[in-house]
Amino acid sequence: MKTTIFRIEGMNCDACANSIKSLVEKEPGVRMASVSFSERFARVLYDPQAVGEDRLVDVIQQPGFRVVSREVAGESAR
């Protein structure tokens, strides 16, 4: 499993953060997501074999938000 932090621009209120969280968690392979409007990031725990980082970026950007950076926050080998 991998945890990646995506920095996001374009969120306007908590509701935007919630909609990103819903979208991301629905993606198969994603176990959990936490999105903060005030700190402008999303932290996602996912199975890299099931879903790739690029795909997650697409999912976040689909409603019009912009991912400006990503950093891996945790990674577990088998």
Binding site: M1, K2, T3, N12, C13, D14, A15, C16, N18, S19, S22, L23, K26, R31, M32, S34, R43, L45, D47, Q49, Q62, P63, G64, F65, A73, G74, E75, S76, A77, R78
Partner: protein
């Protein structure tokens, strides 16, 4: 998933609009979940990117989206699915109809008021008599304020219409005033005002006449009857004046008084309607407006049907996070189901093939296929609804302060009028030898005209506007004004546990490793094992790991044993997570922690153990957590002298633990919904009771209580059964609500007293038959002004916002921000 999704042709939560271009179609859909104006941009972008979509327009105030698209490329179902995916909801147009009808009613009543004002503004200059002195111009002040009202009311229709109308009225009244002062209206005045009065009573105010007649038929003397008495008295006085045709008889003023009392009454009715409609709309906004559908498997295909079309025996597929639509039995699948809203149990219950599920509970992380057993009558939800209706019938009623006063006041006015007539007849006969019928009738009519307490009709809705506004600023929604004011009388408060005093979902509370330094490792392994699990507690465990920034590894294999736990393989290691009994069966020895396990379970926790390669590593205890403000809020309520009671459907141990933490002495656990209402009824024998709850199982008790208080995030049926709704979901709003309730009631009593003060002085003076009706108008104007000042001092904006909002759909009531 490869099962084809079809929607039946009858079920389309959107409406077709005519499109300008031949090969394009346009649809309009109602959207819910729009929070800010910038959300519209999000939706426009998301839909705009779909292939085949030409134009998207989203309106925040009307909460709808218009999409123009090429039907050869795109389908409306795709748009709706996209909207759902990004977290917005589609509203069922049938559920929205009441909103629109209510708004239309408000606009119609507003127009009626404007007409009435026009008549008043015409009548007043006609009768203005500068010889009476400056007092005669007081009604002119009222005229001016009415003009301002008209502007505010019509503002929503259009700025220019508003200016034109207000301007037109000013021009008309000034013209009439000029004509009057020049003496041109001397003869025409009585006829003009007479027609205005008739127009008002039988035309613009016709509906009030209906209501008054209906009330009279039932022997009730309410405000409408009182108004018609005053209005007819004014008309009678005017008619008598026309017949007698004497220069010093105030014919025109009598008619004008009828017009004015009618106008005030129409205003107070409209204000009451605004208050009622706004609070009803605000409540409706909280309800789930989505169309209720279920995914039914028929003939091997899955179709989305409206919930009314689901029948007994249907197989319904329920995905993770979805609400279970009806009572049934699990045919296949495995998931933890959150029953907290239905039974009060905080910990989700594991469901596998053969287990029964209740409609209204929420599915966890697995997928279930359920065979529907009961639909409609007989289902758990419909039973609760029946209990709510039973409670409504048994609920003690609240009599409005004004109605109570009117019960005494109205007969008094009639008696005084009669006495005035008799007094004059007898007195003049004794004094002068013949009965002065004319003076007697004049006195009687003067009393009746003065008797209409126009300020009283306005004082109630005004104080509710103020109270509702103040409450809204604290994130409190008042559903019924009377109940809100009655909250101050409550001496006992019943609180639900799960979701009200607590957060309502399980969280990891304690982690105890056998090896001291092993907490994080314990959580790491547990989360790894649970990561793919549909175990009810899996989410909480994974979340706890996530919060601690741990990234658990993926598993090689995984086996779930419902009711016991999971067996996972991580590389060469076997990890077991499950209840302590299961671990013991597999040979992992937790005896070191036995006393801790017992202590935690006694405190209402659910304990799971973790073992690696047969060796016990430790335990994790999960439980519901108290809301952060629960302790302070309960303490504040007790300080205010309220007796606190905890009633829950959950088990005794969990209940007692919460009660201890929060400071509540009386505890009832394992209680069914109808029995919650029964407990409230028992308590009502001693003193008034308030009930605070959020779940389906709280609804009957919320209805039964003198004041039902629902948490804003609660179920629809709880919100609809409650009198007060706490939008902010914070318990510390409770003492605040009580405080506002007291202040609001005090204000209303002040208003009503002020109102009756003026009438109280005016009526005996009118009984002497020595004053002219114009004094009645002065008294009315002064009392109404006084009440407006008293109610709105410091908060005039609330009132103006209320008036201006008519004609526009209500903008979201913002939840108070947590401090």
């Amino acid at each position: 998933m490869n099962i084809a999704m079809q929607t039946t042709s009858t079920f389309t939560p959107w409406s077709e609009e005519p499109s300008a271009r031949a090969n394009r179609r346009k649809i309009r859909a109602r959207i819910g979940g729009l929070h800010c104006s910038l959300c519209t941009g999000t939706i426009e972008k998301a839909l705009g990117r779909l292939p085949g979509v030409d134009k998207v327009a989203v309106s925040l105030t009307h909460e709808q989206a218009l999409v123009e698209y090429d039907p050869a490329v795109a389908r409306p179902e795709q748009f709706l699915q996209t909207l759902r995916d990004i977290g917005y909801t589609i509203s069922d147009p049938r559920k929205l109809r009441p909103f629109e009808e209510e708004e239309r009613d408000l606009v119609r009543e507003a127009r009626r008021f404007v007409l009435a004002v026009a008549l008043s503004v015409a009548a007043i200059p006609i009768i203005a008599d500068p010889t009476v002195g400056w007092i005669g111009f007081l009604p002119a002040l009222v005229c001016l304020s009415l003009g301002v009202f008209v502007f505010l009311v019509l503002r929503s229709t259009g700025l220019w219409i508003a200016i034109a109308s207000a301007g037109g009225l000013v021009v008309m009244s000034l013209t009439l005033l000029y004509l009057n002062l020049q003496g041109h209206l001397k003869d025409a005045a009585p006829w003009l005002t007479g027609s205005l009065a008739l127009l008002l009573v039988f035309g613009v105010g016709r509906h009030i006449l209906h209501m008054a007649i209906q009330a009279l038929r039932r022997g009730i003397l309410n405000q409408h009857v009182l108004l018609e008495i005053g209005a007819f008295a004014g008309i009678a006085g005017g008619v008598i004046g026309l017949v007698l045709d004497r220069p010093d008889y105030p014919t025109a003023p009598f008619f004008a008084v009828s017009v004015m009392v009618g106008t005030y009454h129409i205003f107070s009715e409209w204000l009451s309607l605004i208050v009622k409609t706004r609070s009803s709309q605000a409540v409706k906004r909280l309800l789930d407006l989505q169309p209720e559908t279920a995914r039914v498997v028929r003939d091997g295909k899955e179709i989305e049907l409206p919930i009314e079309e689901v029948t007994v025996g249907d197989f319904v597929r329920i995905r993770p996070g979805e609400r279970i639509p009806a009572d049934g039995t699990v045919v296949s699948g495995h998931s933890g189901v959150d029953q907290s809203l239905v039974t009060g149990e905080a910990i989700p219950v594991e469901k596998v093939e053969g287990d029964s599920v209740i409609g209204g509970s929420i599915n966890g992380t697995g997928t279930l296929l359920v065979k529907i057993a009961v639909v409609g009558e007989g289902s758990f939800l419909s039973q609760v609804i029946r209990h709510v209706e039973d409670a409504r019938a048994l609920k003690p009623g609240i009599l409005h302060l004004v109605d109570r006063v009117l019960r005494v006041y109205t007969p008094t006015v009639l008696v005084v009028a009669a006495l005035a007539v008799i007094g004059w007849l007898v007195g003049s006969w004794l004094a002068g030898g013949h009965a002065d019928i004319e003076r007697a009738v004049f006195a009687g009519l003067s009393v009746l005209v003065m008797g209409y307490p126009c300020a009283v009709g306005i004082s109630a809705p005004l104080s509710i506007v103020r109270g509702a506004g103040q409450a809204a600023e604290h994130g409190i929604l008042m559903r019924t004004g009377e109940a809100f004011q009655g909250f101050r009388l409550v001496k006992q408060i019943v609180l639900d546990k799960t979701g009200t005093l607590t957060e309502g979902r399980p969280l990891v509370r304690e982690i105890e490793a056998i090896r001291r330094a092993g907490e994080d490792e314990l959580l790491f392994l547990a989360a790894a094992a649970e990561a793919s699990s549909e175990h009810p507690l899996a989410h909480a465990v994974v979340e706890a790991a996530f919060e601690r920034r741990l990234t658990p590894p993926a598993l090689d294999s995984f086996e779930a044993l419902p009711g016991k736990g999971v067996i996972a393989r991580l590389g060469s290691r076997e990890v077991i997570v499950g209840n302590p009994r299961f671990l013991a069966d597999r040979g992992a020895d937790l005896s070191q922690l036995q006393s801790r396990i017992e202590a935690l379970e006694a405190a209402g926790r659910t304990v799971i153990g973790i073992a690696e390669e047969g060796r016990a590593l430790g335990i994790i205890a999960l439980g519901d957590t108290l809301r952060p403000d629960a302790v302070k809020a309960v303490a504040a309520l007790r300080n205010a002298g309220l007796k606190t009671v905890l009633v829950t459907g959950d088990n005794e141990r969990a209940a007692r633990w919460v009660a201890r933490e929060v400071g509540i002495d009386e505890v009832h656990a394992g209680i069914l919904p109808q029995d919650k209402a029964a407990i409230v009824r028992q308590l009502q024998a001693n003193a008034r009771v308030a009930m605070v709850g959020d779940g389906i199982n709280d609804a009957p008790a919320l209805m039964q209580a003198d004041v039902g208080i629902a948490m804003g995030g609660g179920t629809d049926i709880a919100i609809e059964s409650a009198d007060i709704i706490i939008l902010s979901n914070r318990l510390d709003a409770l003492p605040v609500a009580r405080e506002i309730s007291s202040r609001s009631y005090r204000k209303m009593v002040q208003n009503v007293s002020l109102a009756f003060l003026f009438n109280g002085i005016g009526i005996p003076i009118a009984a002497t038959g020595l004053i002219y009706p114009i004094w009645a108008m002065v008294a009315m104007a002064v009392s109404v002004t006084a009440i407006f000042f008293n109610s709105l001092w410091g908060t005039p904006r609330l009132f103006f916002d209320a008036i201006r909002s008519v004609g526009q759909p209500i903008v979201k009531v913002p939840a108070a921000q947590p401090a």
